[in-house]
Structures are given as structure tokens and as C-alpha cells.
């Protein structure tokens, strides 16, 4: 499985939201209490999967810029649970568009997003629990909250 470079990810998301987004590859960091969102992708034609784990504030920032919310409004929206439809739909779309850059081999199709890792099942669940590759990134979003972004992938069908 060929994974995207920090440059490709930075360019993709900068192009998406029209603001500077910087991905920096890093190493595994301790878990925090920051809420996470998981994007599940099917990779065709090999019937494999990719899982993306992202800090909710980061996805909220990307989504908020997309729908024209300032940083302060994004923070207010994220403080409410469940996240209000406008931002939730935009987060869904950010994860959907992420499929275009998530792998350089095969075709990634966004399946769904979940907030609870226990809901990652099937092939994606196996990849998430025992990936062949993990790529860790710290992400900065100009003028907004950044966060951590991790890609879990496999190189062969499970």
C-alpha cells in the first residue's frame, strides 16, 4: 500500500479549503482525551481497507472553513454533542474528499465515519486493529485548530 506524502496531503487539503494546511509526518504519540473521528474506506479492486483516525477539532476546522464558519464558531459547534448537522455534514464531506488522496494504489471509496472505534468492523476493523502500516501526522490549519491525523492501512487482502 503506497501512502500519501505529507506534501500531497498538505496540497490536497489546502486546495480543498483555500487556506494553508500543513501535514508533518511524526511518530506515534500517547492517546489524549481529545475526541476522535474515524473514516472508513474500502480500497478497490483488492477488497482491502483503510482507516483514518483524526482529532475532531482538526476535522471540525477543515469542515468549518469549507462552510464558512470562523474558528470561534467551529469551537462552539464542537462543544455541543451531537455535533450540529451543518458541521457534521461538512466533516462527512471532508472525509469523503480525503478518499482522493488517501492512497496512491487502487481506488479508495469512503464508506462511513464513526465516533466509536468499536463500530469499525469487517475488513476495516481488522486493518484498524492490526495494520501493516501506520502513518502519523501533525496537522496545522492556518487560523484554526489543528490536530493529529493517522492512517491505518494494509498491503494485502486480510
Amino acid at each position: 500500500m503506497s501512502e500519501p506524502t505529507p506534501y500531497a496531503l498538505s496540497k490536497h487539503f489546502s486546495d480543498l479549503i483555500g487556506r494553508k494546511v500543513t501535514f508533518t509526518q511524526t511518530t506515534a504519540a500517547p492517546e489524549t482525551k481529545i475526541k476522535q473521528i474515524y473514516g472508513i474506506y474500502a480500497v478497490l479492486p483488492g477488497e482491502t481497507a483503510i482507516v483514518v483516525k483524526s482529532d475532531l477539532p482538526l476535522l471540525g476546522s477543515l469542515a468549518g472553513v469549507l462552510v464558512g464558519l470562523p474558528d470561534s464558531s467551529v469551537k462552539e459547534h464542537l462543544a455541543v454533542s451531537p455535533v450540529e448537522e451543518l458541521l457534521r455534514d461538512a466533516i462527512h464531506e471532508v472525509l469523503n474528499i480525503t478518499s482522493a488522496v488517501i492512497t496512491t494504489e487502487g481506488r479508495a471509496v469512503f464508506v462511513r465515519m464513526v465516533a466509536d472505534p468499536l463500530l469499525i468492523d469487517g475488513t476495516a476493523g481488522k486493518v484498524f486493529k492490526k495494520p501493516d502500516h501506520r502513518s502519523y501526522f501533525n496537522v496545522l490549519v492556518d487560523g484554526y485548530q489543528g490536530g493529529k491525523f493517522t492512517i491505518f492501512a494494509q498491503s494485502a487482502p486480510v
Binding site: F13, D89, E93, N96, F110
Partner: protein, 122 residues
């Protein structure tokens, strides 16, 4: 209706509408549908000058929608706006009768280049 915009994401429909305006196309009437099946119903009522459709949608995908549109002998210009970026998908789209395929993320300039030949210079 000038454009029928088909996407299951309300957010993306808003983003595309904004990009169309930023591309300089003003005063266009844009109808919306959440999937291919709903769009086919809209087409029975009104013929747009252009259809802009997502690829992956519930109920009926963009490519199935295009195939059905062409099967009904409707030659309305049809373009995809999708996160599907592979050459295979692009070839399938063109072979099935699409005029263009724009990959997300896109800029207003990309929208202008794709729409101008169909809607005229803005």
C-alpha cells in the same frame, strides 16, 4: 432550471453553488437532488442546460444516473464533480456520455473552464 446539481451532501451542493458564483456565473437557476433517482424525477418535470453530478451516492450512483439519462435519449450535457480521481473512472464517465469530470477539491477556475463551453462565457 439552468443546472441540475446532484449530490447527497448538502454541504457539497452549497460549495458547488458558491464555486459557480465565484466562477462568474450569475443569475443561474440551480435545481438540486440528493441522488440519481431523485434527479431522474426532476428531469421528468424540467430539462436543465447542464447536469452536475457526484459519483458516489446512495440509492442511485452518478454513473447509473448518467446511463439512465442517456438510455432515455436525453442528450443534456452531463458533468461529474467527484472525489473519484482514477483514470478508469474518468474513462468510464466519458465513454458513458459525460462531457467532463472535475475532481474534488476544485477551484472556481476549474468550474469556469468546464462550464463555459456549455453555458457560454460569463
Amino acid at each position: 432550471m439552468d443546472i441540475l446539481l446532484v449530490d447527497d451532501s448538502k454541504t457539497m451542493r452549497g460549495i458547488v453553488q458558491r464555486a459557480i458564483r465565484q466562477a462568474g456565473f450569475r443569475g443561474l437557476t440551480v435545481g438540486e437532488a440528493e441522488n440519481g433517482a431523485q434527479a431522474l424525477e426532476k428531469l421528468r418535470e424540467e430539462q436543465p442546460k447542464l447536469i452536475l453530478s457526484d459519483w458516489n451516492m446512495p440509492e442511485m450512483s452518478g454513473i447509473d444516473f448518467l446511463v439512465q439519462v442517456r438510455a432515455s435519449a436525453n442528450k443534456v450535457p452531463f458533468g461529474f464533480i467527484t472525489s473519484e480521481a482514477s483514470a478508469t473512472i474518468r474513462e468510464l464517465a466519458m465513454r458513458s456520455g459525460a462531457s467532463f469530470l472535475i475532481t474534488k477539491p476544485f477551484s472556481p477556475e476549474t468550474i469556469q473552464e468546464a462550464l463555459s463551453p456549455i453555458l457560454g462565457k460569463c
